[in-house]
Symmetry: C2
Subunit: 270 residues, 2 copies
């Protein structure tokens, strides 16, 4: 892969990169379309990164379909599908860690998750050597961490964040959705509805955010078998408590429907 | 720098990189000569990296002479001297950490040192984008950490380690040597003599290493004002306790002469 990228760069091509963990849905395909429109060569990676899973059952049950993924990527005009078996050599010792912004939201309950993400993306950047990398807003904290890493480690890579792609009923597309029970699949859209409720009702001075997140929690918990990891409002992309200097807000949540953990968010300009 | 390297790479040039903290001595010049002989374009960086200093007094008293350095580098045929004022933006949050091999030798008494080294070298690799990087064996543990980082983070960079360059009396060249008192400058060669003593007298089964390091300590401590940080024998480049699988040995030490901390080592094949 490194040699191919080198050759393509020497030929003056602009390389676009969509790193994924596979099992493509419209969200992934949209990232590929954006890459196709903006760069000469579209490279997709498909690798379920063990280092970013904090729960072994989640890693083992993570859905995979390499063959179908490859066909879908080809259909979107991807030029290269990079599907490594394993990216960690025996005695892997080096980790990329971003402080502070990994200690909020998903970072609180998923220890080591963002260290695993930052490390594998750093590795993939060095292997694929893209000019532009495409990440989905669905994983907003991940996008913030990668943006911070690109800046802090001086990667010469432009980060493009694509909007959340949703089912018709509003549920954010996710590879994990197929693991929902039929009942939870039917009720899951309440999650996004409540994020919209917060966005719609927040006061300009943010004085009612606590009240709104409590109301959202209450509405979601009415559904049997749900458990809330967090519903939070932070400044974007700093992931700090919002203040007068905040330019945008991230309204984000993580909710368990049974044993399936879903995340979703809205970014709104202040 | 990034743009220049990009242009040079696109022109098919091989880039050699010598990262330094300046105040050049023969050790640095030797690295430049090796780079000059092996690559098309020789790039030197000259940056005293604050993130790798665990003691503020050491950072403040670290000798600097950018102007003289530039002339010396030019004389050795360096093509580019990269002398950034500061490589860390406000709110720098991302760090590169290598586990285990940073917890021995200098890592024990210099907390955060190798995290600072790995991070700045990662940044410099992304800015300079070399094909080959040259490091001195004098900082053997640093070279081992960088080698591990290159492998673990998939940098497409060849690491070349140059031998220790010594004064006529055997003292390893170091930017810190000019801070020695005249008395300590005269007695400092005992440090290398004792490392040689260990190499010469070690039994093939390594059964007498403890006795030899004790003898070396004893000899060095005869000099007034010395303090020993460590005299250690580890397997190279794994930096673990030597065993039957070890291919090479690192005989390394760190000794204070007054408040000047010197390091030195010998690598010997088993």
């Amino acid at each position: 892969m490194q040699a191919r990228s080198d050759t393509l760069r020497l030929a003056g091509k602009t390389l676009g990169f969509v790193p994924t963990m596979g099992f493509f849905h419209e969200g992934h395909l949209n990232l590929m379309r954006m890459a196709r429109a903006q760069t000469d060569i579209v490279i997709i990676s498909n690798y379920v990164n063990p280092a970013q899973f904090d729960r072994k059952d989640d890693l083992l049950s993570y859905p995979r379909d390499l063959e179908k993924d490859r066909l879908l990527a080809e259909k979107e005009g991807a030029d290269i599908c990079f599907q490594p078996d394993n990216l960690y050599e025996t005695n892997h010792l080096t980790w990329v860690e971003t402080e502070k912004i990994t200690n909020v939201l998903c970072g609180v309950t998923r220890p080591g998750h963002f260290r695993g993400v930052a490390t594998v993306v750093c590795k993939l950047f060095n292997i694929v050597r893209p000019h532009v990398a495409f990440f989905g807003q669905k994983d907003a904290q991940q996008a913030a961490v990668i943006g911070q890493m690109i800046r802090d480690l001086n990667f010469d890579i432009k980060l493009v964040i694509s909007p959340v792609i949703r089912e018709k009923d509003g549920l954010a597309m996710s590879s994990r959705n197929i693991r929902l029970t039929p009942e939870h699949r039917t009720s899951a859209p309440v999650f996004y509805e409540q994020l919209c409720m917060i966005e719609k009702n927040r006061l300009p001075d943010l004085s009612n955010t606590r009240e709104l997140t409590e109301r959202a929690r209450h509405e979601i918990l009415k559904i049997p078998g749900t458990k809330i990891d967090y519903i939070s409002i932070l400044s974007w992309p700093e992931l700090t408590e919002p203040d007068n200097d905040s330019k945008a807000l991230l309204i984000a949540g993580a909710v368990f429907f049974g044993n399936v953990r879903l995340i979703d968010n809205i970014i709104t300009v202040l």
